[in-house]
Symmetry: C3
Subunit: 342 residues, 3 copies
């Protein structure tokens, strides 16, 4: 059961209401007026809860399921237990998420500036902005309407933040323009100087970091992730991109729209990602590369060359994914072949 201490229910909803909000077809002997109070997995759901079945693997659990209602793909309807209200849809999982959202939408923080926050008089706050205790907002910063600045967050001078953006506890943002509906998780670091040295024949030298970070609308940035500001050009995160925890994004990196960047990925300076690029966990990408639209990079890969649009790669150094799979197969054979040797 969803823990009511942490999540306040906006339910119950009747089975008919759930059908309406998901576009599912209501079939079976169940009562359309039945009040559903919560969501639960197939194996624990009870008579006032809704579950879902999308994958054939869980069919046996479905047959003995005690849920009052179940989102179910059409092909499994004949296997339903008696009396269950069936919400038939080709996308049970997606609609289960939609019902979860209806029951437990994110709760807005109380608007207003907490007395223990420190907001410079020269900062501008939009309507219904929430500034948590211990948060610091510097001069010239502009926070859009309905945005939430969490406890102990630090917003630097002249930073702009769009509407309905949320910033989690203890994060810090400087030298940045942040869009609307962005979600920045706790401990994120945005806008600090990049690893700003270059080399020439006389050795390393420091380069002033005079650019910014631009985060477009609807971006998610996971906990303790770091995004350095540009050195002159900007570091850019495109609209709708989702970044997981503990990711490193170097200066001047440009990430396109709708990308997915999984935990502990590192992207070195001045590399450009197209749109809808997927980087799986712990991938490393060298600097000054071009990664095309729709590129997919397998977990733990090390990318040291540009990758054309639409290509999937893997390995360190990364190669096309089919070649990578053959490498793995060959190495496995080597590991077995020499079995007699040791």
């Amino acid at each position: 059961m969803t823990d009511p201490r942490f999540f306040r229910s906006h339910g119950p909803f009747t089975v008919a209401e759930l059908a309406a909000m998901t576009g599912a077809e209501l079939v079976g002997a169940g009562d359309p007026g039945l009040a559903i109070t919560d969501l639960a997995p197939l194996d624990t759901a009870g008579p006032t809860q809704v579950a879902f079945l999308e994958n054939r693997r869980y069919l046996s659990g479905f047959r003995s399921c005690r849920a009052g209602a179940c989102l179910v793909a059409p092909e499994f309807v004949p296997q339903a237990p008696e009396g269950m209200a069936l919400l038939v849809t080709p996308r049970p999982r997606r609609n289960f998420a939609r019902i979860g959202q209806a029951f437990f939408p994110p709760e807005p923080a109380a608007p207003g500036v907490h007395p223990a926050a420190v907001v410079d008089p020269a900062a501008e706050l939009g309507d219904s902005v929430s500034i948590g205790p211990g948060a610091v907002v510097a001069a010239g910063a502009r926070i859009g309407a309905r945005s939430e600045i969490g406890p102990n967050v630090v917003i630097g001078e002249a930073v702009e933040i769009g509407e309905a953006t949320r910033i989690g506890a203890g994060a810090s943002v400087s030298h940045a323009l942040i869009g609307a509906r962005v979600h920045i998780y706790p401990g994120v670091r945005i806008g600090q100087p990049g690893f700003g040295f270059e080399m020439d024949a006389d050795g390393p030298f420091m380069v002033p970091q005079l650019g910014r970070v631009i985060v477009e609308d609807d971006v998610e940035i996971g906990a303790n992730t770091t995004i350095d500001r540009g050195s002159g050009p900007d570091t850019v995160i495109g609209r709708g991109t989702m970044i997981d925890n503990l990711v490193q994004i170097g200066h001047n990196v440009v990430v396109g729209r709708g990308c997915i960047i999984v935990a502990q990925v590192g992207i070195s300076g001045s590399t450009r990602l197209g749109n809808r690029v997927v980087l799986a966990g712990q991938v490393g990408v060298a600097g000054h590369l071009e990664i095309g639209d729709g590129v997919q990079i397998a977990a733990k890969s090390g990318v040291n060359r540009s990758v054309p649009a639409g290509v999937a790669v893997g390995g360190a150094p990364a190669v096309p994914i089919r070649e990578f799979r053959r490498q793995i197969a060959a190495i496995k054979r080597l590991g077995r072949r020499s079995e007699g040797d040791t």
Copy 2:
């Protein structure tokens, strides 16, 4: 010498007292009443310090050692320098740690709520709780007796924390139930939403993250580590597990008891670890896997299949450790064999 600015000594202890607290047998010509004031390594220890010798490698240092007392394995006793008080034990290193603990136990923070903390009136604080300056404790949170909430820590609504748990500077905890004697290091992030999207044939969609984080008793969580809350099920860290710095633990992950998770490991969503699992540094584990009791995973490995109990694996993708060693040997041969080629 242990720096008295940072560590307050509870000594001195006599050699006889050290023998009593470790169960070591006191032999040699040394004075049991000698006051020992500090611990030191073999090579720098002086006449009022205690050292230890466990490893044959350091025998020559032992012979010329000037320590007043030394914890020593029985087989090395004949090599001791004259006049040294010998504390004979089969586990010198472990008992050296025990003596260190007696000299320099962790100092409890001053109990009470610092005037610069922000504690909601609807939070409950146990006896002798310490809340540091700038800490924020939300409504409904419950902090167990003798627990310490460090400076600028943020504790979210309804979070429960057991007794004698310590949380370091700037950490944040939400949507979580934390046990007793847990040690959370600075900058840790617990309870933020997981990387909550799934894919179906229509593309990615967001899944509400409606679970919690459960941290059982006696867990250690290293600096800047991130532990996401579950999506419906909970994320669980079992009793006595030790997690190093900069580790990522995804939503719905279940970690068993007594596991050791070294720095920069990443564990993807819904994977389950048994008890006493050891993950060495920078390991990545894919999602939805089962890692059995006592599994050991070599540093930098990438695990993309479940691993049965008791098996040691290595490599990316990980294979049984002996097979991994043969792979390495074969690759090394390849690197040498083709030496003439280039």
Copy 3:
């Protein structure tokens, strides 16, 4: 154009002044008295901006460049567009950085203790120290002249910080002696206990962590990086070393002078690095190793043996770099050779 909301210009400077500050020779038809207001890349620079050309690759952009002035290597002078003031130097890029520094030097924070900071009366602050809002400075801490402690930073008891050191938002430092002109980025964690357990035949046991962190002068430490204190010996970062974001440095590690440690590197306990060692991104180094002066380690490598001075290594496990390149070439051949097989 450099965004004036985030970077305040100390210019303009005349072309003659730029020549003087860089030692470049002023040639061409340009006006030495021309006021330059900003820096820009070759392709966007306008008539009051300065650009640079060092790499032949950008020659065509240079020929059509509209910059008022340009730092340029001698060999490219004949290709300059008409009317451009040429600042001729063998190191255009380095001097471009120097001009950037002159236009936009780091702005010192306002000196003084912010009223929302919490500074223990038994802390000592040097002249012109700046303590930001929400910062906490404990008893016995000593902060050198002109140092800047950012918002919500936590400085533990007895910590010493040299002159002109800057600590970014939300960082925490305990059990440490920090030098002068050190730059600690937001979210850094210094001085927490190391991953302090050891193993013997009876299993794991905890070791008290009784050492410190010593950070020498002129060190840079990137955002959300973690540096554990020593267990008895100290953890040491040598003068002039540059550490990127999300790096893990274990207890008792000694890093020499002038090292470069790129993002997401992990160095395990008690390993020693010489001077001028370069660790590329996501490298892992096992514990108790010796890495000699000038060693270079390729990105993503896993180092499990000591490396003698001056050697470049790569791979996991790391081998000499030429051997690593042959391994890669051999594996690539395997991936292709078996193409017919699958």
